[in-house]
Structure formats: structure tokens, C-alpha cells
Symmetry: C2
């Protein structure tokens, strides 16, 4: 099959539902021209997904397309940004039409849901790899950083954690006679993580810090603590675990839940006076899991106020998964 | 060697000379925060370079770092944009310190030259691949598009063409007893193309169209003609060829010069009334090679007004180089 890079891009990536008024020139010139709104800063995130490193080699194309955008939208959510524009650099071994159709479907379904327009890209022959960059808007002074957590703030999590990590385990080593609904549920969480965009917008001007849980709660909350110069005490019994997770993971496997990555939930901190109004305004389940402390370090506690030791180090793409 | 992705990024890519005032938050949070100037649109370009496809596998790291930024700056030059911010998604097989040092040197030397700040990135384990996205500014209404060429406009080229293509050929098949200075010169043109940023700024409000020559003059001028709905007549004897090219290429090898890519010169069109002032204002050599015509198609003419036939199709990364 002979198919030039230009034909590829044109065919799969120029016919899209979203046409934003702030894109005077989209795909097709040397560069896209974009008109940012006044009174805002831009929030920009870029992430690469590599087959066999960030997702199993046999992952469905639709899931790859969806997730390559979702992980970037999740970064914008963690800043309180409203997504607008995206670029896509796609490297693939062969211009495989079936694969591209599935990929484009997953990518554009999610883009449309959030009003995001693809404004540029590059398609090259090479090992399967996807680099996506999204740009969003935040009103001046309202971005939520990692560095603002203060002693006394509550620590919160949207949704549940551990699902994607267990989903990956079940995907790679399917159990015999397992609970199939729960298994499919967890694998779906791995392949189609929901970026918490609406929650991020709610946190603007309220949360003192936020991060998305991509490398595992322990690692990501650790980044917040370092950036803020504080510590935290987390109540293990308060960790939000899904029914599917509890049905398939060992009963006390909180360690895997806080070490596994890819859940793309938001972990954020709220001053006490913001708690009630913020929780009421959020569009998703949210759980208070502990408090920020002036004492440095991340500590884990059981229901009897005994300190627990975490043995895992979190998910680092240079160390794990298929390598 | 155990080296986490975070350590890698921090060590090589956070200590940079350029710290722009319009970057309130750079590397280190979930997303960068960027403050665009008022009265401008953003010009955004993204390109991927893959080892063995876009550059020979044994290319020096410094050349890879330089070129991965240069090809994107060249796209901004072709729009008349002033570069400002860049992100880097780097996939490499091993966290090789020597390689990273060279790569960073090539990348940041060029970034500093143009006042460009690295504001975000992602580093992953995988086959060597680099995706760079640059953002620049253009005052409202002054961007130079591909679509504005008009019958009667002159067609111009900065610098010389064919050098990088011949450089690649000489790199892959070193001749015995060749002119060594000329050979090194051509290989340097391949590895360290100069993005024509200053020329692009001069073309603002003057050129009716512009494109950078990345896929070969024939292919790239073809894009301009298609976008503008016009044709062109090019005088082969007017094509600017370097002394090094002429010393090492067959005497009449204009076909290779207009088919090979990677020169990153600007091809642009000027209305007659803009010619004198624009050529005087340009900071680099520039040659008039032909005229835009209302008759569709790209035609090549010799010095005796005989039409010539071009047999090559240009450089498409899905078809050529090491595949």
C-alpha cells in the first residue's frame, strides 16, 4: 500500500466535527494560527504514549486514540484549565486504515465531548508512538498549581484509585473463573480514563493545590508535598476503592491502590473554609483521605492510628510495563 | 543504570539560559502556564524526527538536538512568526548521559539564539524519536500563508537548494577522493539547517505567500500553487545552487536539487511592487527563480525557453531514506 503522509493526515484528521472560532488557520499551512482569548493564560501539556510501554501492544486502536488525548486533558484538568486546541504527532509502522479509523474515532469522540479542535499534526513511519499536546485557557491568577498546599488543608480524591493498575494486571494475566463484569470494568478504567475537566474548573479559585494521578497516588501526592514544602497524613481506610477493585484485589491491598498509576483522578487540597461549598459543586464522587501537615513526608495510617509502611515506589514508565 | 524519567528531565532540560517573562509557570507542574501577548495570533508547528527515517541512525546527538528544533522554527519562519516557546517529547532507548548532553547542547544553542524557552516535555523509553512543538507570535493579519500567491508575482528562494539532499547521499555513500571541504559543507547543511526566522519577519506584510522547503522545492512550491489556485513557471538556470553542490553534483542535476528535501530555505512570492524593498531588507541571499501564472501547474524551463520534464516526485518520509 502506497499512501503518502499528506494523504494520511488529510483523510483521517481534517474532517472533524469541532471547528472553533478561535482557529483562523488550522491544519494545512506551515503552522496553525490560533487566537487566544484576552484575560487568560494558556495551559499547555504534552505526553507521549508508546506501544508496549504505556499500553499493551494489542490494545484496541480506539482505546489508544481516546487515551492519548485523555491523559493530556487530565493534566489540564489538574490546572483548572478549559481545553481548546490539540496537536497530534503520530508515528506508526504502516498506514493501516482499519487501525487509523479506530484511533481517529477514539480521539475525536473525546475531543468533541470537550469542544477541542485538532489544529496540527505530523504523521511519520516508525514504531507506534503518539505524542499529543493540548492547550487550554485559565483566567489570570486562577490556575491551580502543585505548590499551594498549606498545613491544615484537607486532601481529596475524585473517583476511585487502583482500578487501572489492577485492570492492567488482569489484562496481562486474565484469571480463570474471575468475576467478568468486574474484570471488564477495571480494564475499561485502564483504557478509557475520564479526564476530570469539569471538576478541575470547579476547583479554580478554591483548591490550594491539585495534581492528576497518573503515576500513582503516593508518587503524585509526593510531588504536591515537595512543591508545597509540606507533608501529609493519609487515612488508608478512607481511600476510595471501587466495588470491582474490592471484589478482585486482596482485601487489604491498599498499597497497590496507591502505587499503581493511570487512574487519572484528581488529588487536590482544600482549605477548611472551602470544603463544603466545593464538595457540593463537584460533579463527581469525591473523598477526603487525609490532611496536609507542616511535618514533611507522606505518612499512611490505619483505623487504629498505627502508622503503616508503603513498600512500593509508584509507576515509572522507564522501569515497568512490558520492559 | 537506573534513572527515572523525572530525574532525566530535570537534569538535562530545566537548566536553560532563556527565561522568558511570558512564562509564569514552566516545566514542573501538570501543565505550563504561558501568557500570550495581546494583538497577536499564535503560530504553532509540530514535527517528529525518527531515527533511521528523518536522520541516519549514527547522526551525532548535537545535530539531532539542533535539527529537531530547527525544522519547527523553519515552519514558523514560513508564517512570518517570531518564535517564543517550545515543548519537547523525547523517546530514547536508554537514558544515555553522553547522548543527552550532546542533544541538549544542540537544542539549547539554537533555542538561545532565537530567545526560545523550553516550557514542557515528556521523556519516555522507546525507539529514538523526537517530537518538538514551537509556538510563535504574529501580529493580527500579518501572517504569511500559502494561499495568497497571485498571477504575476515573482517566485523567490532564500539561500541555495539541493545541498542537504546531496549531503545525505554523500553521508550514506562517502565517495573516494572527493572534495572534502565541499562534502563536509553539504553534510553540515543537512545536519544544521538554518531556520530563516529573520527573513520570515521581513516577509510579513510583503510576501503574498511563503513555505519552507522541507520536502523539496517541487513538492513544496506545489503546495503553494494548490493552496493559491495558480500555476508557476520556473527558470531552471536561475535555481540557486551552492559551489559545493555544483562541484559534486552532475552539471545538469537540477532535478535532484528541486526534488531533495531538508534544505529549510524559504520559497515565497512577491507582488512586483514589493520586490525591490523586500530584497533590500532581507538578511540573506535571495534569488528570483520564476513567476506565478494563472495557468495551473508547475512548469520548468531551460535558458532557451524549452520546457523540461521533472521526473522525481520529491521527498516523502513514508517512502524514502533508510526504509
Amino acid at each position: 500500500m502506497t499512501c503518502s503522509e499528506f494523504d494520511l493526515i488529510r483523510h483521517f484528521f481534517t474532517e472533524q466535527a469541532i471547528q472553533r472560532a478561535d482557529v483562523p488557520v488550522g491544519i494545512g499551512d506551515d503552522a496553525a494560527l490560533l487566537a487566544p482569548p484576552s484575560g487568560c493564560v494558556l495551559a499547555v501539556s504534552v505526553d507521549t504514549l508508546i506501544a508496549g510501554v504505556h499500553f499493551p501492544l494489542d490494545t484496541a486502536a480506539r482505546a489508544v486514540g481516546y487515551k492519548s488525548l485523555a491523559v493530556n486533558l487530565s493534566d489540564l484538568a489538574a490546572m483548572g484549565a478549559e481545553p481548546a486546541w490539540v496537536t497530534l504527532a503520530l508515528s506508526l509502522p504502516e498506514p493501516d486504515e482499519t487501525w487509523l479509523t479506530g484511533f481517529a474515532q477514539g480521539f475525536f469522540d473525546l475531543a468533541s465531548e470537550h469542544g477541542v479542535q485538532l489544529v496540527g499534526g505530523d504523521t511519520t513511519r516508525g514504531p507506534l508512538s503518539i505524542t499529543v499536546q493540548v492547550t487550554g485557557f485559565v483566567p489570570l491568577g486562577q490556575a491551580v498549581l502543585r505548590s499551594g498546599a498549606k498545613p491544615g488543608d484537607g486532601v481529596f480524591l475524585t473517583g476511585t484509585v487502583g482500578d487501572a493498575g489492577l485492570g492492567l494486571h488482569l489484562y496481562q494475566q486474565p484469571p480463570s473463573g474471575a468475576n467478568n463484569d468486574a474484570t471488564m470494568n477495571l480494564i475499561h478504567r485502564l483504557e478509557f480514563p475520564v479526564p476530570r475537566i469539569a471538576a478541575g474548573l470547579t476547583l479554580r479559585g478554591r483548591a490550594s493545590s491539585a495534581i492528576d494521578v497518573s503515576d500513582g497516588l503516593a508518587a503524585d501526592l509526593g510531588h504536591v508535598l515537595t512543591a508545597s514544602g509540606v507533608g501529609a497524613d493519609i487515612r488508608v481506610k478512607q481511600l476510595p476503592l471501587s466495588a470491582a477493585y474490592c471484589s478482585l484485589a486482596p482485601a487489604d491491598d491498599w498499597q497497590a491502590a496507591v502505587s499503581a498509576g493511570d487512574d487519572y483522578e484528581l488529588c487536590f487540597t482544600l482549605p477548611a473554609e472551602q470544603e463544603a461549598a466545593t464538595l457540593a459543586a463537584l460533579d463527581c464522587d469525591c473523598t477526603r483521605i487525609g490532611e496536609i501537615s507542616s511535618s514533611p513526608g507522606l505518612r499512611w495510617w490505619d483505623a487504629n492510628d498505627r502508622q503503616l509502611t508503603l513498600n512500593n515506589a509508584g509507576f515509572d514508565h522507564f522501569i515497568t510495563m512490558g520492559k
